[in-house]
């Protein structure tokens, strides 16, 4: 299967750009901002201010490029490694940070932001994007649902059920697999005997496309086509964005046990931010001061959000009893009294 690439590894344009230079600059700034967050995430974890953190470094083009194809009211259903995509679709930094600090308020984006909190278990969430898209069609809207998942998730049975339902009912769902080469320590080669993940779409009766996941223009072009198709009622598409997980699985993982630094060095040469920077520079649309200002603005914005999130008082001890149902059950009220009695 051919792989769509619009920006070559050296940043030269070898196809048709899906955006004008102004939009390319906006998306470049978004990738830079996302990377600032990602670096802070790892640092906050090392400082003990975050729970485990799953870095997405190297996958910025896949996430920002995919979400750039959405309308602000479309649904996004992703995973613990998709903070860049979630932020791009309107999920506030504060909520992303709270989630990683271990606070359930992190799962509550503002009303109007149609982004589900990240799925932590692997694979079960893709069918939710099918149900959401189906509901929108039954309600008569033209919203679509984009679901993000990794190469590992394609081995789960739920991948099959989600792809099958979406195709059978032509739901307006876009499946975007960030094939980052690794599912913790299991390599892509060990995950499936298929030559590509994109080709699996054929078995379900939907289009599958393979794109260079470190090429923002390629990801955006393919996702935009899939989104248009979904919105037009023509059904789902599987997009495989071939990328690489530069970091370990999470801050708890030691990737040195199962892969070599040479692989990482090779993929760093294909860095998605460097690639778009080279393109913008050659078009006279980039300068170092602007990128530094973008980084500094992102850093200040995220630091302010960190301060707000850390200043937020944790839930009261009894908060857990109030979140299970619209109204706590009698059993939960009794347990609340027990919990409070034993704690006092």
């Amino acid at each position: 299967m051919d792989m769509l690439r619009i920006l070559d590894v050296d940043g030269s344009l070898i196809g048709e750009s899906p955006v004008d230079l102004n939009e390319a600059r906006r998306l470049f700034a978004a990738m830079v901002t996302a990377r600032v967050y990602d670096r802070k995430g790892s640092a906050l974890q090392r400082q003990g201010r975050f729970a485990t953190y799953a870095q997405f470094e190297g996958q910025e083009a896949a996430q920002i490029g995919a979400v750039a194809a959405l309308r602000p009211d479309d649904w996004l259903v992703g995973t613990y490694r998709d903070a860049a995509a979630m932020w791009m679709q309107g999920y506030p930094w504060d909520a992303l940070l709270l989630g990683r600090m271990g606070d359930e308020r992190g799962g509550a984006p503002p009303v109007g932001v149609n982004v589900l909190p990240p799925s932590i278990t692997v694979g079960g969430h893709m069918i939710h994007a099918v149900g959401l898209a189906w509901a929108e069609r039954m309600k008569g809207t033209d919203r679509i649902a984009l679901t993000l998942f990794g190469d590992g998730a394609t081995s789960e049975g739920d991948f099959h059920e989600a792809m099958n339902f979406a195709a059978v009912y032509t739901t307006p769902t876009v499946f975007l697999c960030q094939n980052n080469g690794w599912a913790i320590s299991m390599s892509r080669a060990g995950q499936t005997a298929s030559e590509t993940i994109a080709q699996k779409a054929d078995a379900y009766g939907m289009p599958g496309v393979l794109v260079d996941g470190n090429d923002l223009f390629a990801v955006l072009t393919a996702t935009r086509k899939a989104v248009r198709r979904a919105r037009a009622g023509e059904g789902p598409t599987l997009v495989e964005a071939l990328t690489y997980r530069i970091g370990p699985h999470t801050t708890s993982d030691d990737a040195g046990r199962y892969r070599s630094d040479d692989d990482i060095a090779d993929w760093r040469k294909k860095d998605p931010i460097e690639r778009l920077r080279a393109h913008l520079r050659s078009a006279g649309a980039w300068d170092e001061a602007w990128e530094r200002e973008t980084e500094e603005a992102a850093s200040a914005e995220i630091e302010a959000a960190v301060s707000r999130a850390e200043a937020l008082e944790p839930f009261a001890a009894e908060g857990m009893f109030d979140r299970m149902y619209a109204k706590p059950t009698g059993a939960l009220e009794a347990q609340r009294r027990l919990q409070q009695g034993d704690a006092s």
Binding site: A108, P109, N164
Partner: protein
């Protein structure tokens, strides 16, 4: 009022819900053209077309899609053909359906109903006779309902469909066509979380639900013939359980027999015994008795009756509480 069996009453409830609210959609295997393996959805596909959806054979997909639909603003009612086929969907139920309200601090909710026929006694194949309701009762964030009569089945299903939280709705297979009673017409609800005192008595309390309620009733008849006054409670909702009604009765009679078809260990009967000893110990005149299925796979047709509690076992347990 019309006389209906439970399958008809449930069909009527779904008809009422579908006609009252465009957000209600049904999905499941063979529920459309065929009307469901137990014919509970008979005729609804003709009346409501695309809102009654035949699905591929994929229980996790059915529940996962219904979950997405519910978050998206619909009121899905999913059907799983038998409780023994629900396990592939259990990950969706325990990992997502019961958690999204907590995970999102109430921002997203999943008001869906998962209808599942349960229990044995019809000599079915393996996997078709399960009473593993305790697994669902042990799962936070969902409600579990199990009606025993046609009128309660209709009212509880309509209550489940308008509930703000997800409900696993267990339908006793053995009762579907076994009893008929007057069922009110149109929309009405039976409150979730409230047990019913089916008959009042003063010597011993039998607590049960689902198909076992009839056998508990037959045991009560036998005991009454011997001059024992029996209070019979139908739990109706397994989670959240109505402790007040059970404990109130235990304090009155001083003797409790919990009757469930599920496996004995960590069963609803175990929970009833725990609640009663916590809240009514000093009223008890005898240990709480559990009459249950065993910790075995439900035997196949030829020996199934050795597993499922029967009126004799229930009455014998009640007599043990009276012997002291």
């Amino acid at each position: 009022m019309t006389e209906m069996n439970m399958a008809q009453a449930l069909n009527d409830a779904l008809d009422v819900a579908l006609s009252a609210d465009d957000r209600v959609v049904l999905l499941g295997e063979d529920i459309g053209v065929t009307g469901g393996v137990f014919r509970v959805t008979d005729g609804l596909h003709e009346r409501y077309g695309p809102r009654v959806i035949d699905t591929p054979v994929a229980e996790s997909g059915i529940v996962g899609a219904a979950f997405g639909m519910a978050i998206g603003g619909l009121r899905p009612v999913a059907e799983i053909q038998f409780l023994g086929f629900a396990y592939p969907a259990f990950d969706q139920i325990v990992s997502h359906v019961g958690r999204i309200r907590n995970r999102s601090n109430h921002r997203f909710t999943a008001p869906l109903v998962i209808r599942i026929p349960f229990g044995g006694g019809i000599g079915a194949a393996e996997h078709h006779s399960e009473s593993s309701e305790a697994i669902f009762v042990h799962t936070p964030g969902i409600k579990v309902v199990a009606p025993a009569t046609p009128a309660d089945a209709k009212g509880l299903l309509l209550a489940a469909i308008i509930d703000s939280d997800p409900v696993v709705f267990l339908e006793p297979i053995r009762v579907y066509r076994a009893i008929k009673e007057e069922v009110p017409e149109g929309h009405y609800t039976v409150p979730i979380g409230e047990a019913k005192v089916v008959r009042e008595g003063s010597d011993v309390t039998l607590v049960s639900y689902g198909a076992m309620l009839r056998d508990a009733g037959r045991a009560a008849d036998a005991l009454e013939a011997d001059g024992v006054s029996v209070e019979l409670i139908d739990l109706r909702t397994l989670s959240p359980m109505d402790h007040q009604t059970v404990v109130g009765s235990a304090r009155k009679t001083g003797r409790v027999v919990a009757v469930v078809e599920g496996h004995r260990t960590a069963s609803l009967a175990s929970e009833i015994a725990a609640v009663v000893q916590e809240q009514a110990l000093y009223s008890l005149l005898a240990p709480v008795e559990r009459v249950t299925g065993w910790d075995t796979v439900v035997p196949l047709r030829r020996t199934e009756h050795h597993y499922i509690p029967n009126p004799d076992r229930i009455a014998a347990a009640a007599r043990r509480t009276l012997a002291g």
